[in-house]
Amino acid sequence: MAVKPLADTEFYKKQTRLALRNCGVIDPESIEEYFAVDGYQALAKALTQLTPEQVIQIMKDSGLRGRGGGGFPTGLKWSFTAANAADQKYVVCNADEGDPGAFMDRSVLEGDPHAIVEAMAICGYCTGATAGYIYVRAEYPIAVKRLEIAIDAAKKHQLLGKNIFGSGFDFELYIRLGAGAFVCGEETALMTSIEGNRGEPRPRPPYPAVKGLFGKPTTENNVETFANVPQIILHGAEPFAAMGTEKSKGSKVFALGGNINNTGLVEIPMGTRLREIIEEIGGGIPNGRKFKAVQTGGPSGGCIPTEHLDIEIDYDNLSAIGCMIGSGGMIVMDDSKCMVDIARFFLDFTVDESCGKCSPCRIGTKRMLEILDKIIAGNGTLEDVDKLEELAYHVKENSLCGLGQTAPNPVLATLRFFRHEYIAHVTEHKCPAGVCKALLSYNIDPEKCIGCTLCARVCPTGAINGTVKQPHVIDHDKCIKCGACETACKKVHAVYKA
């Protein structure tokens, strides 16, 4: 029998590896292995054969858009910095990766650090910057170590430093560690943090291209954005622009997780249907359960329900339904999940991570969380649902930075697609998925119960009454809804949640 190659598995078949091209292929701590896969050829080409304007034009033509969440066209961003004359400019790589569950950028840094070094030097050349900073979260020690090794090796080979490839272009690269606050991934907060100050956002404009790091024109891009640059420069804009949809070119890496058979890192061409990711690459939903929704964009994004499974993934299609690609987290949820509870999970995260500088975000998200808690506890009303929605729009429109502006998205998306679940919580006092404890009760079906006493023996509060071989009954006043009886009765299935 023939051994199945990795490339023929369902998981890999539909993937296209551009940003991840060297991850899992080369030794990331060896500059020689990076040379062997055309490493630093793009930098050499840019410095010896292309003018800065030509490099920027290639980036524009490729259609690459920022992979850090916003989706801003990269070539255009670079042209803004290039247009501002200054005695000093900077390139910054955002490797803060704060979305819970996301690890795309970590994988690129750990698997292909030289690609980031090379891309940042190219960016420096065409924007007129001579120094770059990589801002990595301190929780990524392996990524940091491999970046340090890469920077040292590049310096030794004169690929960083003075007069690179004899072109007169100088470029130095530094690493800065972040303490892992979510808001420090926001570009202005990130630069404030590099400057040694408390990582708080500031209003834009001025944009970083005008007044960025240390007050100088700065280009700030995400790790995955940079990872795409060397091949675009080396092979030209066309191959990249040929892939994807009209307005979203190339491929995107997602960290696929949650209730799905195959978890891991997947890179797919833009325009791939969500259904293909879930059913084919992901191998479907485990344990015989049904697909309910997929959360993209983490705490800034929204959920996509079954009726949109055939959506072609790109920036604009997702924002049209109130979601976003975000940085690439993709959490699949089956029908055992309560969407009100999910919204609460993400909002709880943003309430914790809000830096507190502006009141719509600091106070507004807290009030929203209180309303959600009230609904989950079974004390909510229809007015609360309306108030929650109104407040969500207020926070979205009035917050200073992207954290507050996007924090309400998980609530708004679930209200949009799963409003009936909110309504069930407040009018029927029921959690349809059986998650919100205050709204469910454990019961024993007298028809099924064989009186084996297993449940009564595990109940921590003695809430179950009954004699041997007689149907048992749960005293709801004593029950603390721990679920132990349901687990104990797993053969007979007489215990049920309602």
Partner: protein, 123 residues
């Protein structure tokens, strides 16, 4: 290095070094995923086991390298083996013991251990 010609020479030398040992034997390349996901799943002892077993078996053309994330984090540790002229084989859920077995049966004996390959655990 200051010219494109030097870079090209470095590329060609590196590519050759990945294919051939100094004394001209074609290299059998073993790569073990040593990103956070792999290390957390126990990839370091797997890499060491490959090195030791290959040496013990006197397989002088086997080279063991670390690499980044292959993408299937749930099946880590993952090791991929490329014997010259043959299709790459992907082994999943590796342990030091399995690595030793792979060296003996596959690298020394030429027999792929199919039950450890990716095709055995996923469609």
């Amino acid at each position: 290095m200051t010219t494109l010609a030097e870079l090209n020479a470095a590329r060609d030398a590196a590519a050759a070094k990945m294919k051939q040992t100094d004394d001209g034997q074609p290299i059998t390349r073993v790569v073990v995923g040593l990103a956070t996901c792999g290390i957390a799943a126990g990839a370091k002892p797997v890499l060491e086991a490959f090195e030791q077993a290959a040496q013990a078996a006197g397989l002088s053309s086997v080279r063991v390298y670390q690499t980044g994330c292959i993408g299937m984090c749930q099946f880590e540790p993952i090791a991929e083996i490329t014997v010259p002229g043959q299709e790459k084989v992907t082994y999943v859920n590796m342990t030091a013991g399995r690595a030793k077995e792979v060296v003996e049966k596959h690298l020394a004996g030429g027999q792929v251990i199919e039950e450890y390959t990716v095709g055995a655990v996923t469609k």
